[in-house]
Symmetry: C2
Subunit: 554 residues, 2 copies
């Protein structure tokens, strides 16, 4: 295959191969440079050693197909696949979270768990199965979940004459696999809470839940979900309200500082509340297709579940009272948010604060140089071992797998490894290295002395984290629009319009307006900390001071 | 109530109360001391301040009833309850793991997870549900689990005319809730493994599983179980064998260094193998009633599951081969082992390496001293913040709850908090404190200058960890007996005999011997690293060089 053909096919790997096959390297240097210039490739040339590494791609070609503008939902699936985050399983709607995806989840867990403990919460674990009678204790609650429950009806299997297995041992009372745990945790709380001295009771659970979804999408909507669910009980309404908002802000801080995702925090309109909640608060993130993703919720449950589960306490005056409860949760959906907010047409871009690995060192050598180059890389890894990113260890990997350099580099680009460090024999002699940063345009690398790299690596990663946030924040702000008339609203959300978040005056009478259904737009929330502003509801014409963010949503 | 009555009822709390009610404290000092002497209580007296704390109990009385010798199984349940580790739930066989119990599990997870990652494993997550057809892929496997599977047959609920909920939406193919994940993980492995370059594949999963148990006991045997399951695939039989043993030794090291539990590691006899395994290796621990607890297993699966799931790879010569797989797991049962190996008749004794909190500071004051004493305690807590126990942070809590001092002290004894530090106004003036150590006989406390405590706290906890191990190791060694004739064997395991581990010559012909069933004794394992020794099988009379550990088991 000629270089020209390789280019036409977008195959930079093939180009790499051809270069290796050439013998008379000195002479070819110039001509290759010219070809690369023509092809608009950017390369690192270490030609005296006979090693060429092409890490850029032909302009206008991308590692992910389709691109974001071509087909955003499909682009998302392809990024998840190319980054090796997860895959569909043979069990309907249940995904397999692969090591790189699970590594992100572990970092999310670590950071959130620390924040939960800092705010006084303790972890515990409650049963996977919920008796039907428990689910029925709160009427709105069961109505909300009955349509999507996995039901356990038998407790063993029996083979028929053909050896085919059938359910046997029917249960007296079926169980559902928890879709959420208010009712089963409420049962424990009713025993744990006796006196005002037992309050507040601040519990969190890391668990799997199941909501039988018909249309699923990796991380965004799955039947089995990994999540955390906080459940708390308080002596007063005010304390429970405070807790609900405290945890909403814990999520907001986490999204900003770790996910580099700016949020709109707000209160759900009544039609969007959690089944059984008095108020639901939400964190809403804007994806790059300008749609909203509900990234987490915090519910003020009033006394609804306390009454359903008999969570009562003796107050200091000897009076028996119902507790006030809250619940709040985030799921593996957060990984979907990270993918959709930061990634580009070459794959995943990861905020360094959540990357399972921050730096990959790619040794580049011919067989005779291997020992020396590897030793240099090992020493570099050791020198990086003590480095930290805002208190977290920075993890470095040496990728010495026996696959071609170009393919390897592109794997790391597609996986979103924040920093790539390439070391060849000549770099080694100069005590320097080539640094590729995942969020730099067109994957340009730069040469940097080793010592300078060691001195600045912490700030490089910190700046990368901040830049990702700033970029996402700018995108969010650029795409929130105040809309005051229905025609503009309809045009804003038209099929081929760019869309975004529309902030509009709203009164409860707007709920269920047919235009919303037609446009597939939903009220996302009544943003917090918003000054009341007189106006008329866009849908009902009623006078109101409240404004709601509307958007198409995942 | 008189002190005499209080004593008769074993109510140290009442004694404490009476002391507080006395006015003329100076005069009473001596007489109280005499009474305590008479009652054989050991106390810390800070009487000039009018504060008495009674932390010892009447001799011969215990916080846990029944004691170990009175009724060991019931003692276990009472320790779990008194230590607030877990409780039964309304869902048959599923327990609620309370914060103190879950804190131990979190520490187990942290330590093991670190060891798994050090040995090259990565975490991932696979579906909770397994299609029946998957379970059937390995014949022995399905036979082993069919009798105890929770079966999901429907995916929603419908209310009848009376509002009663019924399962609806029957599934085409039922699912079982994973009792273990070989088959569903094998399905992913069949896609992930293509070439010898993809091997070894080293995966671990932290998850919940379900095995429908009829007779359950907190931590030891529950229907829902939290565990980790390692699943690996290798290019050669030898590598898979090595991995099986490597992970067995990871468990052994962990049990020794963290749980302070000595183990017998060995190979299971064929009748005790995991369904579908070629070899099962086990870690067996001896409880204080001299029964065995299987604390974890590591399975060499040969090519059985690779063939069932089509896990194949192209070797370097271009030949397609089946992989060799292993699996290995430990569960929340480890917490049961910790409870049963170390605890005493006053409650839980925790190895410091796994204690959720290492030190509790108990401020003792009258209202007017509160500010000063609390400030002193806060400073002490701060001074302890940087301390470590073998690389792990030492956690300190100040327990300033408004409950009586004696009750509070006993709560911490029953929960197994390794160190209790009491600080009153007089201690504060002397810049010293009273130190109670959970594993010291009769809960004697000792006065110690604050600075000395800060200097030695790390070694105190380290020594405590080592002492617990040494004590358990001695008990284990004292209770392993070589038995060479059936009559001795029968007497050794008779109903009222102390029992223990019997090491006996064994040949496969011994399997299923009626005496074993009669005595409720099982072969635990063929210990590793045991010199072959000529002898005859105790049960079959066959010549053999193999010896097996027999015991009654949980």
């Amino acid at each position: 295959m000629s270089i020209e053909d390789a280019y036409k096919n977008g195959l930079w790997l093939q180009i790499h191969l051809i270069l290796h096959e050439k013998e008379n390297k000195e002479k070819l240097d110039l001509s290759f440079c010219l070809i690369f210039l023509y092809l608009q490739l950017s390369i690192s040339i270490d030609s005296s050693e006979g090693i060429f590494t092409v890490t850029s791609k032909p302009k206008g070609r991308n590692a992910i197909s389709p691109t974001r503008t071509e087909n955003y939902p499909e682009w998302y699936q392809q990024v998840v696949k190319a980054a090796d985050l997860a895959e569909n399983s043979p069990v309907r709607g249940c995904m397999v979270i692969k090591p790189w995806g699970y590594g992100i989840w572990e970092n999310i867990q670590k950071a959130l768990d620390h924040k939960f403990k800092e705010t006084g919460h303790q972890n515990a674990y409650f049963p996977l199965l919920i008796p039907l009678s428990f689910l029925q204790k709160e009427a709105t609650h069961v109505e909300g979940f009955a349509k999507e429950c996995a039901v356990v009806t038998h407790h063993r299997l029996e083979a028929d004459a053909d050896g085919k297995l059938h359910p046997a041992g029917e249960l007296d009372e079926p169980f559902v696999i928890r879709p959420t745990s208010e009712t089963i945790i409420g049962d424990s709380f009713s025993r744990w809470v006796q006196s005002y001295r037992d309050l507040p009771l601040l519990i969190n659970q890391w668990a799997n839940i199941m909501r039988w979804e018909m249309r699923t999408r990796l991380f965004l909507r799955t039947s089995e979900i990994l999540w955390q669910e906080g459940h708390t009980a308080h002596a007063t309404e005010e304390e429970a309200q405070e807790e609900t908002l405290r945890m909403l802000h814990v999520y907001e801080d986490f999204a900003r500082d770790y996910m580099a995702v700016p949020l709109i925090t707000g209160k759900k309109t009544p039609d969007e509340r959690f089944p059984g909640a008095v108020e639901t608060y939400t964190i809403e993130a804007m994806m790059q297709d300008r749609k909203a993703l509900q990234a987490g919720t915090s519910h003020f449950l009033g006394q609804n579940f306390a009454k359903a589960s008999e969570i009562k306490f003796l107050d200091p005056h000897g009076e028996m009272k119902y507790a006030w409860t809250t619940s709040w949760g985030v799921t593996t959906r957060l990984i979907g948010a990270i993918v959709m907010v930061h990634s580009d047409d070459d794959g995943l871009v990861l905020p360094p604060m959540l990357a399972p690995r921050h730096i990959v060192i790619l040794p580049i050598y011919k067989a005779e140089d291997r020992t020396q180059v590897m030793e240099y890389c090992e020493n570099l890894k050791k020198a990086l071992a003590g480095k930290t990113l805002r208190g977290m260890p920075i993890y470095t990997e040496i990728d010495d797998r026996d696959i071609r350099g170009g393919e390897k580099v592109w794997q790391h680009i597609k996986k979103g490894t924040p920093l790539r460090v390439e070391v060849g024999p000549r770099d080694m002699q100069a005590d320097s290295l080539f640094l590729g940063q995942r969020n730099v345009e067109n994957h340009q690398k730069r040469g940097i002395p080793r010592l300078e790299f060691l001195d600045t690596v912490e700030s490089i990663l910190g700046t990368m984290q901040d830049d990702l946030y700033a970029k996402a924040k700018k995108f969010q702000l650029d795409n929130i629009h105040d809309i005051t008339d229905l025609a503009t609203f309809e045009a804003f959300f038209a099929e081929n319009a760019p869309g975004g978040f529309a902030r509009c005056h709203w009164s409860p009478a707007a709920m269920g307006h047919p235009l919303l259904q037609k446009l597939k737009v939903t009220p996302r929330c009544l943003p917090l900390n918003q000054e009341p502003q007189a106006g008329v509801c866009l849908f009902s014409g009623e006078a109101t001071t409240q404004r709601v963010i509307f958007a198409k949503a995942y």
